[in-house]
């Protein structure tokens, strides 16, 4: 949709699906899935990849013209996250970073205090910061206030596939945001991605839903279509919900039969 471009920090993207690479059974399967997803932006865990290695996931992204978005997965403190982001900038020559600072391994939920701290340091250091955050409208606003280029609230915990558990919070975040809002984490199947877009998200980010599906390529294709469908539905404007039915065909102009004229069956 050439007339409907997503812009993050001044950079345009034709696709509103951001992919992750974790959990793919093989690089070949990952590559097929990425192609079918149509993604133009994909995250890579910088603690797990060396950019100088031949045949790595970074080569897969490069040959498909997909922009790499390094993330700080596995960091528990602002200090670690800042260090990881700087190493990624040096290794990959990009100052974009998907900022993740999680509180514990059991939930992988963001630590809001450390996250905001790291976001501020990185923005001041010239990074384009896309933070993985709780679905908390207040925190989302504060992240925007310190200069983040987007906010990426979670629908439900990473890898859980539970979809968007608090749609109302998403609506609040979308309503207040002056930067793109990107669903991050929780999408389990296509309807979750479509729902996020219908709620007004600017994009959807997902990994496990595709990489751990039984047929990752097919699921990637489904996700691309779901994001497009959800986006179109949002732009088209849905009808209001009603408690009772409202006939879709008009009642006017029908024959008004007197009971005396009623034909005999």
């Amino acid at each position: 949709m050439a007339d409907d471009i997503l812009t993050i920090a001044g950079t345009p993207f034709g696709s509103r699906l951001i992919m992750g690479t974790g959990g793919a059974p093989s690089l070949e399967v990952l590559e097929q899935a990425l192609k079918l997803s149509g993604t133009e932006l994909t995250t890579v865990a910088m603690r797990r990849v060396d950019p100088t290695v031949k045949g790595s996931v970074l080569e897969v992204l490069a040959r498909n013209s997909i922009r790499v978005l390094p993330n700080t997965a596995g960091c528990f403190t602002a200090g670690e996250a800042v260090l990881t982001a700087r190493l990624a900038r040096e290794a990959l020559g990009t100052d974009w970073v998907k900022l993740e600072v999680v509180a514990d391994e059991r939930t992988l939920l963001p630590d809001p205090v450390e996250l905001l701290d790291a976001a501020e340091i990185l923005v001041d250091d010239g990074f384009t910061v896309l933070p993985y955050t709780n679905d908390d409208p207040v925190l989302a606003r504060k992240l925007e206030d310190v200069g983040c280029a987007a906010v990426m609230p979670l629908g439900s915990p990473i890898g859980s596939g539970l979809g968007i558990r608090n749609p109302h919070n998403f609506q609040l975040i979308v309503e207040n945001a002056g930067v793109p809002v990107i669903l991050d984490a929780g999408a389990g199947t296509a309807s979750d991605a479509a729902f996020a877009m219908e709620l007004g998200c600017d994009a959807v980010m997902l990994a496990s839903a595709v990489t751990r599906a039984q047929d990752p390529a097919l699921m990637a294709d489904a996700m691309r279509r779901a994001v497009e469908a959800g986006r179109m539905a949002r732009r088209a404007g849905r009808i209001p919900r009603r408690f009772h039915a409202e006939a879709s065909s008009p009642l006017e102009g029908r024959a008004q039969l007197d009971h005396r004229e009623m034909p005999a069956f």
Binding site: K54, S56, D215
Partner: protein, 387 residues
């Protein structure tokens, strides 16, 4: 300059290179192996789990068939190798238990069980109680398990040592040097130059250099797809006789989404593995790697804290783009591949030796190996260009 000629030159003397060399020498061909330290590849670190059914992944059914074929040959392979070398292999027909620790892990394991049933594979579902009756050291939180009776284990170190000795006895020329470069003349691989300048000419050259295979100097571009190093950190503990048996079979588990396995050897060694890291040719053991393995192992088997930790090490799995090995002739005449075995080098050593030796001796790759021809990647590229 010294120049020798042989029928077959194998570049790389890890478990795969040596298995190919041994089987090829048995077919009556003259074989040389070029490796600075033969018998010391990734199999030295590997746990040696022979678990094609337990480790099945969606979309990898051809690899499953190859793995099962190799697993089925293992008992005979080990017996013959022990006979030929006079050395033990540590082959142990013990079965494997895939364990789920919580409801989420259980759901994932039930998915695998359903997949097994669709494919007609033999595995049995056990309740938590049944599981702990088999392995009492498992944590009380175990929610269920899959028992795969035909997934066994072998000691990769012992197999490496035995293959080395078997090769010696079979008359294989073991050249203890690094391959400086591959020699190619008139579009055909003709041998290699060893470090120090010795020229080894051969009718056929086998690349079995693991995660360094496609970095071999002189290899023309595009002949081999990238084989990248995927680091795995592994711990070795010891089960003191008073605790024996502690574990009686391989135990594999998903602990909150992380995969871990414990392989108890007959001699009391307990191998715990393994991390998956894509950090290049780096074999550093890190605090985080050891921590994660111990953390998950402890959650699975609380009593593990009492065992002596005797070794930490890291090896490099040779990962091909589709995780499956590269077997047989390449696009370069005279050059044959036996590499890219990723997580399955120890498991696939017997079948790789058989298939590649058959190709080298008879010029025909058996049907079982055809899905793994290295040219499958170049074909894909050509097909894509046509679209």
């Amino acid at each position: 300059m010294l120049r020798t000629h042989t029928d077959v030159l194998v570049v790389g003397g890890g478990i795969i290179g040596l298995a190919v060399a041994w089987r090829t020498a048995q077919r009556g061909l003259g074989v040389a192996v070029l490796d600075p330290d033969p018998g010391h590849g990734a199999a030295q670190v590997a746990a040696g789990m022979l678990a094609p059914v337990t480790e099945l992944q969606y979309g990898e059914e051809p690899l499953l068939r190859l793995g099962m074929a190799s697993n089925a040959r293992y008992a005979d392979f080990a017996a013959e190798l022990e006979q030929a070398s006079g050395l033990p292999t540590g082959y142990r027909a013990c079965g494997t238990l895939a364990v789920a620790l919580d409801a989420d892990d259980r759901a994932e394991l039930q998915d695998l069980y359903a997949f097994h049933q669709r494919l007609g594979l033999t595995s049995r579902w056990l309740t938590g109680r049944e599981t702990r009756r088999l392995e009492p050291m498992l944590a009380p939180s175990v929610r269920g398990a899959l028992l795969v009776e035909d997934d066994h284990q072998v000691d990769g170190r012992r197999v490496g040592a035995a293959l080395l000795e078997a090769c010696r006895r079979a008359g294989v020329d073991l050249v203890a040097a690094r391959a400086e470069r591959l020699t190619v003349e008139h579009g055909r691989a003709t041998g290699a130059v060893a470090e120090g300048g010795r020229e080894l000419a051969a009718d056929q050259v086998v690349v079995a250099a693991g995660s360094r295979s496609h970095l071999l100097p002189g290899l023309p571009e595009g002949v081999l797809p990238p084989v990248r190093p995927v680091k795995g950190q592994v711990l070795r503990l010891r089960i003191p006789p008073v605790y024996a048996p502690f574990l009686s079979r391989n135990v594999r588990a998903v602990v909150r989404g992380c995969h871990i396995y414990l392989v108890p050897r007959e001699d009391g060694e307990l191998v715990v593995g393994a991390t998956m890291e894509e950090l290049g040719h780096d074999t550093t053991v890190t605090a985080g790697g050891v921590y994660e393995l111990l953390r998950d192992a402890h959650e699975l088997i609380p009593g593990i804290t009492e065992l002596p930790l005797v070794e930490t090490s890291a090896g490099l799995r040779p990962g091909s783009p589709d995780n499956a090995p590269l077997l047989g002739p390449t696009a370069l005449d005279g050059l044959v591949a036996a590499t890219g075995h990723f997580r399955n080098g120890v498991l696939l050593a017997p079948v790789t030796g058989d298939l590649v030796a058959e190709y080298l001796a008879a010029g025909r790759l058996p049907e079982l190996g055809v899905p793994f021809l290295p040219t499958r990647f170049t074909r894909t590229a050509a097909q894509e260009a046509l679209r």
